[in-house]
Point group: C2
Chain length 328, copies 2
C-alpha cells in the first residue's frame, strides 16, 4: 500500500483538520466532532445534512456551502457515522425551518441517520429524510437492502440545496426529493479495487486486463467481469443499462454526470464523455446539463460511473443555481 498518510487510525481526524484549514473561509469543523458545517449560515431556510463513511471525497464535505449542504457528517472510512454525530450535524444545520437528511442507501447509514432524526425531533427540530438508491447495477448488496446510493446523491444535494436556498419549506423540499430520486440512475465500471488504509490491500482484485461492471463504491460486487473494453464499449454497456431503466424516447431531457472513482484521470473521463455523447445523439436525447469529474469516489479505485437524471419541472435551473462550495 502506497499512501500519503500517517497512522491509518488518524486519517479521518487529520483529513478533516486539513480540509477545514484549507477552506477556512467556507467551512469549519464543529469542535470535538467529525461534522463539517458552512460558516455562512442559511438563516431561516431549510438545512440540508448528508454524510456517511469517508473515502468518497470530495463527498460530502466538499459540497457544504451556500446553495448545497449545511453540514456533512463524516464517518470513519467506509463506516457510517454514529447517530450522535449526525445529531450534531442536524443541530448545526437547523436555523428554524427544519432539516432535510440526504442518506445514501446503506443499512448502517439508514439506521443511524433515522436514529438521529428521532433524537432531533425529541429536541424539537423538524426533520425529513430522503434515501438515495440510484445505483441500478444490482438489487441488494453487501451492505444494502435494495439498491445502493452512489454518485447521483451529489445531484440530490445540488437540486435540493438550490430549492432550500430559494426559501422552499421543508415540506416542499421533501416533495421534490420524493419525486427526484426515482428519476436518478447511476451505473459504473471498475478497473481496480480500492485500498482501505487500515486493511492495506485492495478490497478485490481484477486481472491485469479485466474490469468489472456495477461495482459499488465500497467495492461491493458488480454484475459482470470481462476483458477491458475500449471506452466506446463501456459507454455502450452503461448507456444500454440506463436506457433499460428509463425507457426514454426521442426529445426526452436529461442531466448527465460522468464521475471518476478516484484514480482515473480527467483525460479518460472526457474521452468517455465523448463516447457517451455520440450514443445520446443517436438516441435523440436532449442533454441539458453535463458535468465531469471526481465527485463521489471510492478512495483510489480506478473506473467511473455514469449518472443520468430525467429532468422535470425546473430541475435544470437548480443544477445551474450558483453555489459556493469546495468541490461542485
Amino acid at each position: 500500500m502506497k499512501k500519503i498518510i500517517n497512522q491509518p487510525e488518524e486519517i479521518l481526524n487529520q483529513m478533516l483538520e486539513g480540509l477545514s484549514f484549507a477552506y477556512s473561509d467556507l467551512v469549519e469543523r464543529i469542535n470535538e466532532t467529525d461534522v463539517i458545517v458552512r460558516k455562512d449560515k442559511n438563516e431561516g431556510k431549510v438545512g440540508l445534512v448528508s454524510g456517511g463513511g469517508s473515502g468518497h471525497e470530495p463527498s460530502h464535505a466538499g459540497f457544504v456551502g451556500k446553495g448545497m449542504l449545511s453540514a456533512a457528517v463524516c464517518g470513519e472510512i467506509f463506516t457510517s457515522p454514529t447517530p450522535d454525530q449526525v445529531l450534531e450535524g442536524i443541530k448545526a444545520a437547523d436555523t428554524g425551518a427544519g432539516v432535510m437528511l440526504i442518506i445514501k442507501n446503506y443499512s448502517g447509514d439508514v439506521m443511524n441517520f433515522e436514529m438521529a432524526k428521532d433524537m432531533a425531533e425529541m429536541e424539537g427540530i423538524e426533520v425529513e429524510t430522503i434515501i438515495v438508491d440510484d445505483d441500478i447495477a444490482v438489487e441488494d448488496s453487501t451492505y444494502t437492502a435494495g439498491r445502493r446510493g452512489v454518485a447521483g446523491t451529489v445531484l440530490v444535494h445540488k437540486i435540493l440545496g438550490a430549492y432550500a436556498d430559494q426559501g422552499k419549506s421543508l415540506k416542499e423540499v421533501k416533495e421534490v426529493a420524493d419525486k427526484l430520486v426515482p428519476n436518478i440512475k447511476t451505473i459504473g465500471v471498475a478497473l481496480s479495487g480500492a485500498t482501505v488504509p487500515a486493511v492495506g490491500k485492495p478490497g478485490f482484485v481484477l486481472e491485469a486486463d479485466e474490469m468489472e461492471y456495477g461495482v459499488g463504491i465500497h467495492g461491493e460486487p458488480g454484475y459482470r467481469k470481462e476483458k477491458l473494453q475500449p471506452s466506446k464499449g463501456l459507454a455502450l454497456e452503461l448507456v444500454e443499462k440506463l436506457k433499460g431503466e428509463f425507457a426514454w424516447k426521442q426529445g426526452d431531457k436529461y442531466a448527465v454526470l460522468v464521475n471518476g472513482l478516484g484514480s482515473t484521470p480527467l483525460m479518460e473521463q472526457f474521452v468517455f464523455m465523448n463516447d457517451v455523447k455520440e450514443l445520446f445523439d443517436k438516441e435523440g436525447l436532449d442533454i441539458e446539463f453535463k458535468k465531469v469529474g471526481d465527485l463521489m469516489t471510492s478512495i483510489d479505485m480506478a473506473g467511473l460511473s455514469l449518472t443520468m437524471v430525467k429532468l422535470e419541472d425546473n430541475w435544470k435551473d437548480q443544477l445551474n443555481h450558483p453555489v459556493t462550495t469546495i468541490a461542485w
Copy 2:
C-alpha cells in the same frame, strides 16, 4: 496498461470533444484546432493564453473562462503544441488589448510559443510572454534548461487573469508577471510513474515501498529516492526545501497550493495539508490563501506537489477574484 480510452492516437481529439461538449456553456473548441477558448469574450481586455502538452488535466483547458485564461492550446500528450496552433489561440484571445502568453519552462514549449508570438506580431497583435519556472527540485532537466514549470503556473493564470479581468494593460500585466514568477516555488514527490497511453507502460518505476522527491510532471528524474515516509516526513522535506529558497521570516505572507498529481485521493492531499499547516504554524508564517486538489497532473502519477507564493501587493485579492471556469 488499464485506461478508459479508444485508440491512443485519438485521445487528444476525443478528450477535447468530450470536454467541449461537457462544458459547452463555458468553452468551445476552435474548428479544426486543438485550442479551447472561452465563449464569453474578454472584449477590450488583455487576453491570456497558456497551454502545452496534454496529460496535465485540468490544466490548461480547465482554467479557460472569465477571470482566468482566454484560450488553452492543447498539444499531444506530453508534447508541445505547434506554433500554428498557438497562433490560433493568440488570435482567438486578442480583442484589441494584446495577449499575454503563459509558458511553462520546457524547451519545446518556449520555442513554439515564441515562434507563435513572432507570427502574431507580424499580423499586428501585441504579445508579451512570461516563462514559469517554479519547480525548485533540480536545475536543468530532460526537456528543460533551467528550472521546470509546474503547478505554480495555475496560480499565474489566476493572478494575471484577475488583473486582466480588471482591465490592466498588457504592459501592466507583464510587469506583474515578471514580479510574480520569482515569488512562486514548487516541489513535489512521486509514488509512481505516469503511463503515456501510446507507450503503454510507466515512464519510470519505483519499488513497492519507494518514493522519489522532485520528479517532474513528465516523469523527469527527481533528486532523491527513498523508502516511503509518513505524510509528516514528506511535509517536512518539502517545506524545508521551500524554506531554503524563500528564506522566510515570521509573519511573512504566503499562498499555498497542495496539488495532486493524478491518482492520489483528495483524502491524502488533505492529510498532507494538515501536516504542512503544522509546520507553517511552527515557522510563524501567515498563510493567507490555500487550495487543495488536482490542478496540474501528470496523467495517472501518484504523488503531490506543494506550491508556495510569497504574497506581495494585492495578489491575495487576485487569488480570491471570482472566476467562471471548469476547474478552479
